[in-house]
Amino acid sequence: MTEKKHIVIWGNGIAALTAALRFAEEGITVKIVCETSLLRSIDVLIPHGINAATNYWNDGDSITNHFEESVECAGHLISQSLLYKMCEQAPKIINFLERAGVPFDRTVEKELFFQKTADSDFKRCVPAGPHTAQKILKVLQSQLLRFESKKLITCFEGYEFLRHIENENTHSLVVQNIKNQEITAIPTQTVIFADPGWQHHCLAALFEQGVFLANPEFSGGLWTGETFETNKKGIYAIGDCSFRLKGAKPLQGNYLLGLLFSALECSCNIIQNKKTFVAENNKIEVYLNREQENWQALLDLTGPENSYRLFDEWEQIMIQKVDCPRREDRLLEASQEIKKLKDRFLRVGLNDHKTWMNTESVFVRRLPRLFSLAEARIAGALYRQESRGTHQRKDYPERDDNRFLKTTKVKFNPAGPEIFYENCDDSLYPLKNTKYQKIEVA
């Protein structure tokens, strides 16, 4: 099976749709593969509007101000050249959304209504009613349907991500149809991950297969370069999947901007480098058979443990012992308890043994991935002996820029995650010790 010029995108959120539309406009065929139906995305929950430093109100705002505020908010742990580019592009991104029909809030003069947010000194954030993300999604979805009717985009809806196969520069996504539970492979040379999945389980699956994670202690994502390519050639991660630009997310209005910008930047890079998108289906039967056997084995599980209750316990451990404020002893306890959960998971059983839309089997498959992701998060939090941004340690309440102005990089190892540190780009706005306020946490 040989298909010319196509690209596979995993996800149906804002980042995934934006990237898909960019490729489709270039005449490249896109396959969108996603868990839920195209019209349902969890991105609707993203709060606030979009930031763009246009200085409409003449309050002294500029791209530099936007950039500096974002850096401060990220605790300086962010790649600055990429972030600056994002701030530069912001007004143009609003242009394209407006052309497509997003109903942004307007002043009486019918101009964009830039508003002040709680954590910024400037009026820079433009919302579209109370749920900006939902409006943007709606418009992008309708554009996607337009390209679908032109046969440039094909949607594969209702698929569960199982694994990826790398073979001579070709990637294949092994996916399972949630409805009829058929396991298939989607071959491609370039794949973009734009949906971390429920509780980031897709990221965890990739992590277990050798893709590096970065900054898991601050939620983070897959490690990517500035072109959004992961450590495996041909696998890209954008939006919430990539750790880049995630540091700037807490500044209200930067979240949506980050999603849109990363999608544009990544797709432009791929198009400019004129990658060949031809993929050939090579020896993947072995893997497909193995996944099929795994699934059959999964259906036959009849242990005493209920997967949903195990998940509840996992959630409680994460909330009580891993969420901030963190302490070394609690983190160590949590890591022990995750180990115990892993042992108990071996005795898990299913109540649903049907072979049609068996959502319980899907859930059981996701569960062990969450455990390995939790281990990476705990390890990252243990080694980072300081407090910075969303990572707060009670035993190390100060920010330690000498030791930890670095990105945590995590490699999967069945015995336990391996941690490296990578220097952080601070070329444009060097470190100052001012402005960083310490907040007392009870």
Binding site: L39, E98, A100, G101, P103, Q134, K135, Q143, M357
Partner: protein, 246 residues
């Protein structure tokens, strides 16, 4: 914590017969229908104590924004994440939507909504949307109406309650017409008015509406659907007459 009695309509496969199964659970009075389903799956036993397969349902955001969890609860179309157990008379009867084909238990196939949008071409036709970011187009719109209309999350409640959605009618439903109106109000959409109105005059379009006004009563986002339908109907009439007499 109170004892709650649920009566859930189940179906194993699209072609197999449906049946009701009763469950009894302990739940907080402030819990929603979705929470009740989550409690059931942790210990999936029916009222006689027999272990059964957990109920399959669809939900995502739990904030009435995604439109996944539309169910018929005690005979009314509701978003399950917005219905509190304490507000329902017991036994609480939970059924899947009836106008769409059931996949399993409470999950239905709402592909029809997408098809309708594709048939009606409910989108702005524009070139180089993302490729050329320099292009500017100020949207001189009535932002308040556009905002309400954009709130539609394609849940299918209006189609479920509409008497015109049946096997004998080709009507595509009020949701897609509201989407058309949303794009019609944008500045670019105004320039494509004839495309929108011609699509609306075709089979399955505005002519299918019988003005039963059920949609506006059941819309979880409180869209002014009947107002939109009336306006569109007037505009298409205008458009058709203009086409004939010039």
């Amino acid at each position: 914590m109170t004892l709650i009695h649920l009566k859930i309509k189940r179906q194993d496969k699209p072609e197999s017969p449906s049946y009701f199964e009763n469950f009894q659970i302990m739940a907080e009075s402030g819990a929603t229908i979705i929470s009740a389903l989550q409690i059931i799956r942790k210990n999936p036993r029916n009222i006689s104590g027999k272990v059964v397969a957990p109920v399959v349902w669809e939900s995502l955001c739990h904030k009435n924004l995604c439109g996944s969890c539309t169910l018929i609860i005690n005979g009314k179309v509701r978003q399950a994440c917005q219905v509190l157990l304490k507000d329902c008379t017991q036994p609480i009867v939970i059924e899947p939507l009836k106008k769409f084909p059931v996949i399993r238990d409470l999950v239905v196939d709402r592909y029809f909504l997408r098809q309708a949008q594709e048939k009606m071409t409910a989108w702005n036709d524009l070139d180089a949307m993302i490729t050329n970011l320099e292009l500017e187009q100020k949207n001189q719109i009535d932002s308040e109406q556009a905002l309400t209309l954009a709130g539609c999350h394609s849940c299918g409640a209006c189609l479920e309650s509409c008497p015109q959605i049946n096997t004998n009618s080709s009507f595509l439903g009020p949701a897609v017409i509201a989407a058309q109106q949303f794009y019609l109000t944008s500045t670019l959409g105004q320039k494509q008015k004839s495309r929108f109105l011609s699509a609306l005059m075709e089979e399955g379009g505005i002519a299918g509406c019988s003005n039963a006004q059920n949609c506006v009563r059941h819309c979880p986002k409180e869209l002014p659907l009947t107002t939109v339908l009336a306006k569109i109907s007037r505009e298409t009439n205008h458009f058709a007459l203009k086409k004939i007499f010039g």
